[in-house]
Amino acid sequence: MVATAYQDFGRSSGQATSPSACFHCGLPLGAQAWPVVVNGMARDTCCAGCQAVAGLIAGQGLDAYYRNRSAFAPTAAGQRAVSKFLEFDLPSVQAGYVRQVDADQSEVALLLEGVTCAACLWLIEQRLLRMNGVTAAIVNFGANRLRVRWQTQQVKLSSILAAIAALGYRAQLYDRGRSEILLARERRTLLWRLFVAAFGMMQVMMYAYPAYVADGDLPADIERLMKWAGLALTLPVMFWSATPFYRGAWQGLTARTLNRDLPVSIGLITAFAASLPATTGGPGAVYYDSISMFVFLLLGARLLELNARTHAARDQDWLARLIPVLATRLPRYPDRLQREDIPAALLQPGDVVEIRPGAPLPGDGVVVEGNSSVNESLLTGESKPLMKRPGDNVIAGSVNGSGVLAVRIARVGEDTALAGIVRLMDRALASKPRLASLADRAAAHFVFALLLVTAASAAVWWFIDATRVLPVIIALLVVTCPCALSLATPVALAAATGNLSRKGIVITRGHALEALAKATDVVFDKTGTITRGHMSLIGVLVMGRLSSDAAIATAASLESASGHPVARALVEAGCNLEKTPVGALRHTTGKGMEGIVDGQRLRIGSPEFVAELTGVAPPLELAFVSDEVTTVALGGEGEWLALFTLGDVMRPDAKYVVESLSSLGTAVHLLSGDRTPCVARVATRLGIAFFSGNATPAGKLDYVRKLQAQGAVVAAVGDGVNDTPLLAQAQVSIAMASGTDVARLNADVALLTDHIEPVLTAINVSRRTLRIIHQNLLWAVAYNVVAVPLAVLGLVTPLVAAIGMSASSLLVLGNSLRLRDSLTSAASRE
C-alpha cells in the first residue's frame, strides 16, 4: 500500500495540527521530542509513553489506524506498568465479572476509556485477535464496551488488559449491577416490542388494504378471512408490545394521577374491543391497522426517550468508576509482609490497606504510615497533588503519587465522599425540575379535559349517528397529544444535562438549567474564578550563568519536596523540564530551601534568606518589583542566579468569557475581598462595568440582594467557603473546579474542569434548552387546537389520528434530542 498522507485534524475544534504537536495524541511537543517511525516516516511524539504506543502500533502492522482515525488518541503519558494487572488473575477479583463459557473458555465485559474514534475500536480488536488464545474481541462503539473471550489455558486476563493498556487505552472490569446495564436490558425488551409492533403493523396493513380499495366489492368470506388474519397479528401487538402503556396508565391511576398513558390505553382497548364483534360477523369496522401502527409509532418514540436516558446515565456514571476493583489488605498490620488482595467492596472500616504508587484509593481513611503526594483533583478540584503524612485524611477515588502508603480505612462504599458526590448528581436526576413537574401537572389537567370532551362528544354523536360513536372517540383519544407536555420536557432536560456533564459541568439541582437560562446578571468572585486562585510563575529574571529554563528547572528541583504554595507554583512551572539532581536538601521553615546542585550550594527563597548565602548585595531589580507579586530568589555562594515573580494570574479564557457574556446581554459583576484598586484593574482589563472591592461575605450578600431587589436573576460563580452565602443567595450558583468541597456541595452547578469557559457553555446550553422546551409547548398547543375539533367533528379516522399523534410526538422528541450533541464550538475553543 502506498504511504498515504496522514490526516491533520484539530483536537475537536478543527484547528490544523501544528508540526509541533505529538503525532500520536496531538498534545503540544515539549522541549524534547520522542521520535518514532510509522510507515517509513519519522514522526515526533510528546513523551516516552506515546512513543512506545506508536512504535507498538507500527510494529504490529496496525498503522492503518493512523490513516483512518478521525481524532487524536488519548495521551499515553504516565500509563500503568504492565505488571500491575497481575491482580486481575486472582479468582476472587474475577468473581462476578468473568463468565465461564465452557471448560476452557472465559468471557469478560470491559469498559474502555480513551476511545476517541472508530479507528480505536479497530485497533483494539486487531491487537487482541492477534494474541494467542483470544478467540473473540468485539468492541461496542456506542457504549465503549469490549467483550473478550479467551482460552484460559493459553492466555491470562492480565495479559489481555496489559495489551490494551500498551495501546494507550484503559480497560476496567465491567460491573453488571450498574444502572447502565439495566437500561441496556430495558432497551433490548423495548426493541423486541417495537419489532413485533412493526411487523404486525406492516402485515395488518396488507390485510386491511383490500377492504379500503375494494370499497365494498370484496366477497364477504374473503373480508372475514382478512379480518381474522388481522386479529391474529394484532394479538401480539395488543398483548405484548403495548403492555408498557397499560402498566403506565395503571401506575398513574393507583398514584391518583392521570398520565399520558391513560388516553392511549383507553383508546387501544376501545378500538380492540370494538373490532372483536366486527371480526366475528357483527356490524362495524375493524381497527387492527390503526392499533398496530399507533403502538409501533409510540414505541418508536419511547425508544428515542430511552436512548436519551441511557446517554445521560452513562455521562453521569464515570465518577463511580474511580473506585478500584481491588485493594491490598494488610491483615496483621504493622506486619507489612503479609498482604492479601481482596475486592475493594469487601473492605471493612478499620482495615489497613497498602496503596502502591499510582494506585487509586479504595476508601476514605487516615494515613498510618508512609509519605506520598496524593492527587484529589476529581473530588476537591485541587489540581496539584497534596502531600500526605501519617495522620492525614485521604479520600476514596484520589490517586496516590510516588510513595507507598498504609491507610486505615474509615469509610467504604456508600459512605465515602465520592459516593456523596455521586449522590449529588443523582439528586439532580431525582429532583424533578419545576419545568418538568409543571409539564406533568399540565398533562394531568389535559388528560382530564380530554376524557371530558370524549365523553361529551360520544353523547352528542350517540344522538346524531350511533354507528360513528366508536370511530370518533377512538380518533379523539388517539389524536390528542399530551406528549409535548409530559415527554418532551424531561427528555430535553435530560439531554441537556447529559450534554453538559460530558463537558465537565455537573447540574446538581433540577431547577438550575431554568434559572441559568433566565440569568440576567452573572456575579464572579475574583479569586479562583476570574483568576486561578493559586500562585503561578509570572516572570523569570536571570542574572547569572543559567538560562531561564535551567533556572526554572533548578528551582523546581530544589522546591520539589516542599508543600508551600510558592514551591508548588515553581514545581508546576518546571514539570516539563528535566530535573536537576539535588543533594543535601534542607528546609528552613518560612524562608526557603537549600541544596547542593552540581557540587554547588544553592538557596531558593526570600531574597533575605538567599542573601545570607550569596554575601553579595541583592540585585537592584528587586526594588522595581510590584508589591502585588511574590518574589523568590535563587542564588549560590557569591552570586545571584535568578529572581522569580509569582502571583495569582488571570485565567486565559476570562476575557473571552466576560466579552461573550456581555454580548449575550448578561450583566457581568466582579466582587472580591481584595483591595479596590486591584479589583478595579482586573475589571478594566476584562471590560467589567460593575465591580466592588474590599467585599466581605456579608457585603457580597448585600450586593446580590440589591440586584435581586431590582428584579435581576443572579447567577453567582464562586469557589471558596467565604462565597457560600453568596452562592446560596443567588438564584443559581456555580462552583469552580478549584473550589472547596463546601462550595461544590452547595452549588447548583459544579464544574469539573479548571476553566471558566464552562460557565459560558452552561448558560448557552441552558438558554437553548429553554428555547426548545418553549418550541415544544407551542407546537403541542397548536397541534391540539387543530386536531381536537377535527376529531370531535368526526373528520379524522382512527388511522389518520394514529399517524398524526405519533408524528407530533416524534417531532417534539427529535427537537429535544438536538440538545444532546450541540454547542461544541464554544466549549472547545481554548
Binding site: 500500500m1 504490529q60 502492522g61 496496525l62 492503518a64 483512518n68 472508530a118 479507528a119 475500536l121 479497530w122 486487531q126 468492541v139 461496542n140 462503539f141 456506542g142 457504549a143 441496556a184 433490548r188 426493541l191 423486541w192 419489532f195 413485533v196 411487523f199 404486525g200 402485515q203 396488507m206 390485510y207 366477497p219 374473503i222 378471512l225 382478512m226 388474519a229 391474529a232 397479528l233 401480539p236
Partner: protein, 50 residues
C-alpha cells in the same frame, strides 16, 4: 380466490417465523451496537502481515 385461504394463513405463519428470527438476532446481541458497524466497514484489515 380460494388460494387466499392458504396464502393468508401462510403469511401469518411467516410473520411469526420472522419474529422468531428477529428474537434470535436480538438475543445474540446484534442490535447492541448500532454505531460501530458503520465505521467498521471503513477499516480494511487485509493489508496487515500475518
Amino acid at each position: 380466490m380460494e388460494i387466499l385461504y392458504l396464502l393468508i394463513p401462510l403469511s401469518v405463519v411467516l410473520v411469526f417465523i420472522v419474529g422468531a428470527a428477529f428474537w434470535w438476532a436480538l438475543r445474540s446481541g446484534q442490535f447492541d451496537d448500532l454505531d460501530g458497524p458503520a465505521y467498521r466497514v471503513l477499516m480494511d484489515d487485509d493489508s496487515h502481515p500475518q
